[in-house]
Amino acid sequence: MFELSSSVGSVTAVLQAGGDVRTPATEFEAIFRVFLVLGVLVGVVVLVYMTYNAVKFRAGGPNTAEGDADRPRLGELPTGSGGGRKLFLSFGLSAVIVLSLIAWTYSSLLYVEGDPPGDDALDVEVEGYQWGWAFTYPNGYTDSTLRVPADRPVRLTLTSRDVFHNFGVPELRVKADVIPGQETDAWFVAEEPGTHTINCYELCGAGHSYMSADLVVMEPDAYETWYAGTDNSSEGSEPDGNETTSANGTTTANATLAGVLP
């Protein structure tokens, strides 16, 4: 289902979020939906209100007072301020909306920041480099494609070999900075088998636009079979150094890159 266009991707994800597991994706969708509805509502109300008033009180309009009594005059000093009550009322209202919205999302933040649910999470180490990704499994096997079982939390520990990158899988709503010398972490659950794209979200040099990799979500059984066949000899060989980016899963990207880079 993720082959659908990304612009409707959010909608599909929302539908999918009807499931039971709370994942970063479901958290995001739920919150995003509420924000979107409220945001549109507030935006429309405020814009309509201000336009309405501007037009209603246009010069020469029926509602506009004749004459210049109490209009500003050149050279006057500003006086105190009227309209304080109304101002504070609207301000208070908007403040309450904003504050409660944010407070409401805080529990979600705690959830996403916390450990993944259950204790069978798969741990994968992610290393970003110019310009690709290397995924290392608990058995030491390293690959340039991330394969994970469906319906099982995956915990990523991320770092960079060179510059600042950012790891993101838009469809699964997972994202983390990838910083040299630092470790960050993130987790996600992919509920259905399928293929997703991993992108880099921080400008990292000439190959940034092409710094993507595949995330393959497999049926749990198929995954176990595949995993059992791997060892730390790294058939999907992890490249080392900035130059030798070929000879691994990112060849397509690099082929394109070769045409683009000077």
Partner: protein, 880 residues
Amino acid sequence: MTRRNRHHERAERDGEHDEPRVADGGHERPADTDGGHERSPTPLEDVGAVGRAFRVEELPPLSSVARWFVTTNHKDVGVLYVVTSLFFLVFGGVLALLMRAELWTPAADLLGANAYNQAVSIHGMVMVFWFLSPLAFGFANYMVPLQIGAEDLAFPRLNALSYWFYLFSGLLLGASFFQEGAFSGGWTMYAPLNVPVYTPELGATTTVLALLLFVASITVSSVNFLTTMHRMRAPGLTLRKLPLFTWTILLTVWMMLFAFAALGAALVILTSDRVLGTTYFAAETAGGSLLWAHLFWFFGHPEVYIVFFPALGVMAEIFQTFSGRRLVGRKWFILAMVLVALQSFAVWMHHMFLTSINLQVKTLFMITTIGISLPFDLMVFALIYTLVKGKVRFETPFLFAFGALALFILGGITGVFLGAVVLDYEFRGTYWVVAHFHYVMVGGVTGLVGGLYYWFPKMTGRMYDETLGKLHFALYFVGFNLLYFPMFVAWETPRRVFVYDVSLLPWHQLSTVGGFLLGASFLVMFYNLTRSLWAGDRVEGNPWDYTTTAEWAVPSPPPLENYPEGTPTYARGKLEFLAPSAVRSLGRTGADGGTDEASTPSTDGGTVVRDRSSAPVVPETDFDEGGHDEHHASHASPWPFVVGVAAFFALLGLSGVNEGGLYLVLLAVGLLLGTVGFVAFGLEPFHVPEMVAAERWPFAGVENAKLGVWIFLASDVVLFGAFVGSYAFIRVAFGWTAWEPVPHDPFPGLVNTYLLLTSSFAVVLALVAAKRRSRAGLVGSLVVTFLLGVAFLVNKAVEWQELFHEGLTLSTGVRTSTFYLTTGLHAAHVVVGLLILLYLIARALRGGYLDDDRPVEYFGLYWHFVDIVWLFLFPLFYIF
């Protein structure tokens, strides 16, 4: 009498103008206090014809090209800023259109990867640094002195210097494209992509140096504006009564002073990494990457308000004028802005929610972030309620201001999304952010464009074409939304990429169409404004109804001296122009706390708020021994331009010093020219009269130049603070206790501490000697100070020499990098101090400073500051 502008119906206003008023709506004023609109069409010639001062005559007429290179007048400089910033708008706009053209298809076709990355990076920098703020500061230069009733800024030559630094920094940026390519790591310049291992182009270094020069420009101008606004307000114009535009500029400049100092520190370190080979931001340095993010965003977040506040001020002025209503809740509006300005320094980590900072810190910054958004709600509502019961006229300036508010509201709402950290996690690095910040920032631009139309008649004396103005707005507003709204829909596109998912194609194409429409709308503006310069209807006074601020009470364009026929004062609760004799007596009454003491001009009691002398008061003028007529200000100096050129050469040379050859020549030429320029600057007689009576709270007791020095030192504190903070940050990441001081022997450092402390003492003696009018004492003490300073440097050189011999160089590691660079920055301050000392000694030998010892005093402030810094650095780098 002023001719009314064609846009205004006169009838409804007549009949209530009988009471005598001094400045009553700007259309008709009694002839005796009218600010001089019975002038000839070219006020400058007029002034010259009167032969008021030979200084003025030195300023060539407006039509002369030479004038624009030597002028120091705030209005001229304002025009230069506006025009130059519009040039950079075109530059940044072309880069943007190139990107949008590239994004027409989801594949890479038009631009290569490097070209695209350069376009993104330089577009961002140009728009934020070289276009947005300078446009606002063009208005500020022009309007702030007029609004507060000053004749010029406090330091006119420094103002010109700011401008030339600004222009040449922009040219330097342009030059960087021709040195293997400009910087391509994004306007945020994240580390370690910003070091030569990953961006080896010489041009990338030049880009960094261009920014550094820009920071210098901003710092000089912040000092200037702060001194001006704090010390040169017309009597009765207390801070609370300042016009809103001036208020926003005041807060902007305070934020600039500190924020840009932090950016300056970051850029100095980066330059050193790129040119000298230190390793602060190298990938191997623990914490180096995060350090950059902290430094950059400590500057970067206030920067958001720095670019937005002036637009807010313009919007507030326009809303008031075009609705004929005073801003609702003005007091709260100002308070809200003050809160934002303060808090802007406590939200930077919200740009780093996805880094490894811990949950507690995230929560804290989430709270401060939401907190800072709330005052904006209040400001938005205040603007909206101002329209209610108004008499709203939909003329071009108002359309733009109104449109700006609408765009800002959308930008604000989408910003709340980002404030929710869980959402931010997903939006980070995507087009959601791109759309959001364009709505906010280009929303601000929209307000400023409104300001351009609003003040165009004031600055040129001509009216723009209203129909074309409306057409511009229509194209602009449609183009804008077509450009940026689709980005919200296509938000899953990563930022700064030129290939994207095919499914997003329609949205990106819409956006590109909008971009070109937006660009085209500016062609209409350029055509309209250029043509109106020659063909527009003449506006001699005030084309708008219901203006309140003082710039509208003088002719359009204002005469060179702003108020040649009467000094503005608000002492009696409204704007009046006093004849010079009345001003003298006013000066002797109190005008200190915004009370109306001055409303009864008398010579009896009252605090005397006059300066020690009404003779030349700025150190810039301390060579002015010629004793020419002190009532007339100077307006021309070629030296700011020369120093600007020198900076350009020197920095271009510095970008390639490691290449040698031509670059070394450029560097040498730049340094030489700079020395000549600065010395000539110092020697030039240049007269800036200080206001006789002014509102000066809270700096009534400090004179302009001293306040300027204090303010500059405040920014220097931040600079050193950022250096020491960086050191601490890296040391913590490294392991605090595992770190050993670089010099194994603290003894040379200890000796240097004594040397500096003694030299501070010698400066005090110099001042005492000057007060006693002892030339020998003065020269002697200054020479002792100088020798102690030299000894400090020699001692340091010997120490460094030994360390180098042990193989401890700048690039050995972070320990040596931080040691050499931080103490080196301090040593550079010592060197600058010694150069100033040389100048002082040369003048003292010829009998200078005995009558006016203030330059010695101000130098002392600087020198003590440099000593105090050492007292912090010594233990940090030699003992612990």
